[in-house]
């Protein structure tokens, strides 16, 4: 992947990936930070990216893992928060319905949330969700089914529980 190809890839997919990671982790600023960092790593490892069958999936997976890793570090308090983990300055979400959806997603188990976002927002078929998450297809289908059911209840119930987990 040369500079021009990378720039086109970056320009075309950055906002889309940020939206997907935002849906997964529930924090827009953090999602943007992590996607940005994932692209930095993508360029640093562009030879691997060339070999990747799905470069966008590579970046998305890296961004999501970065977000989870950062969250774990923060929660465990083993080290001082870095710049990216400074007090939340979360930008407003696109609309109230999106806020409700993201808040509801935050209350689901991580595996269900990830499967729902990849399938319903990133539009990946089940087998690709399975490949990206490293889970069997049957497990992904179960996560989707349970996740959808839980999400329907949460959205029907109204505002999300402020004590919801992050990732």
């Amino acid at each position: 992947m040369d500079e021009r190809q990378f720039d086109e890839f970056y320009t075309a997919s950055f906002s889309r990936l940020t939206a997907q990671v935002y849906a997964m982790i529930g924090n827009r600023d953090e999602a943007q930070e992590c996607v940005q960092e994932a692209f930095v790593r993508a360029w640093a490892h562009r030879r691997k990216l060339d070999q990747a069958e799905h470069p966008e999936a590579w970046v998305r997976t890296t961004a999501y893992r970065l977000a989870v890793s950062r969250w774990r570090r923060t929660m465990r308090g083993r080290r001082p928060a870095d710049r990216a983990l400074s007090p939340a300055t979360e930008a407003a979400a696109p609309s109230e319905s999106h806020v409700a959806l993201v808040e509801a997603l935050k209350q689901l188990p991580e595996s269900q949330r990830q499967a729902l976002v990849l399938h319903h927002i990133a539009d990946l078929p089940v087998h690709e969700v399975a490949r990206e998450t490293g889970a069997p297809e049957g497990t992904v289908k179960a996560r989707l089914s349970r996740g959808r059911a839980a999400l329907a209840l949460l959205l029907a119930d109204g505002p999300a529980d402020p004590g919801a987990s992050h990732a």
């Binding site: 940005q36 640093a44 465990r76 083993r78 959806l101 595996s111």
Partner: protein, 458 residues
Amino acid sequence: MPDNDPFDPFDDFPEGLHVDALPASEVRRRGDRMRRRNTAVAAVGGIVAAAVFIGVPVALTAGNDDNDIEPAPQPTPSVTEDAEPSWVVEIPEDFPVTEGMADQGEPTEGDLDAFPLCETSYPTSRGTADSVTYFYSGDGESSATRVFQLWPDDATAEESLTGLVEAIEACPQESTPGGEALIRTRHVPFDLDAEDSVTFVQEVVEDDGLISGLFTVEVARVGNAVLVDSSYGSAGGDEAIAIATENLEGRSALTRDEMCLFAANPCQIQDASPASDTSAEVDSGTGASIPDDFPLDRGLEGASATDVATGPPLDVCGTPAWEPSGVVERIATRSTDIEYLQQRELVTFITADEPAEELTMLRDAVRDCPRIEGESSGYTTTMLEGPKSLDSFSWGFVPEEGLGGGVFQVTRVGSAILVLYVEGEMSQSSLQPTADDLTQTTLDLAPEMCVFTEDGCS
């Protein structure tokens, strides 16, 4: 939405979010910096750089692995985005102008040396705010020159490159001073990691067609700073040009890297690792690429490679049993027979910090989770003994009802993690013997993982 599901809260979720993304060139610059740092291509010890932020000189040391360069903080609210940057117009005493320039010996400072371009020459010190020139003569007929300039602002610096391009185009060839040969000048399409760059060559073309006396010149601009890096070799021609441009690019990489200090939004060099931070002990760049011949399936009968190792869909009280973060590369293999499923996975990370974090996280999670809720039956988890000489962690689980169970052994060596997993019909009493078998495998494979350590395999 892929399914025909009447419940579709995702229907109007935006495909993309409006975000203020960094320019792609800045992303690449940071990626290049990461790559260089991780692969430690060049020894950077001894470099001392000065950091300048918003016109305030701040001297900080650079050049060891504990230092990092981060984007400068955002301007304070009193500074508008349209405010003119405070350009640095004096070359900091410790700026590494000559870094990478010479294999041996020291470059010497001298007067500006310019390349003739018909009616003009390049570079010129006219209009610059500060300029310095260094020379180095190596063995044989090679030599190198480096000119570093600071212009009053980025616009004047940019104009100097524009002028250079125009001068090259206007002067494809001219006679040597004695008139016995031609000096041929041409632009080379070779981009450098900078805001702007120009690469050109000058060669001497004799009457008989012999091409010699190759000057290769790479010019890079960041903000108001311009680096003119050139080399001379006796051989000319396309092959020599290709080699020379690559060599120059590599040699000046660190100096160009530090030129971010002169950007409109300058970087700053900071000490990123407080001494009290235990992560500093393991936060060192190591080789993250997995050798093609890594013997992950050694002794594993009927093993087949898999794209991604799939551990059991089992959470340790909310923490996935094995879903590492920050992965660079992973290979996996598995083997199944009537009784057991065996899986092995090797995962590499950017530094040793992430895998150390993974082990700590997983170890804590298992310790805090003596019982796992299952869909039909719960599982009892047990900490097991593993290889004591390594940073390793073993644990097993068995169902409270029915058959099943598994044993994990997760071992970190440098920036890599080796995961061994066995699943099958187990009882509480068979967990430790199973872990012992895995320990033998780990001890057998661990020496092969020396490539992921800072010291390597020497």
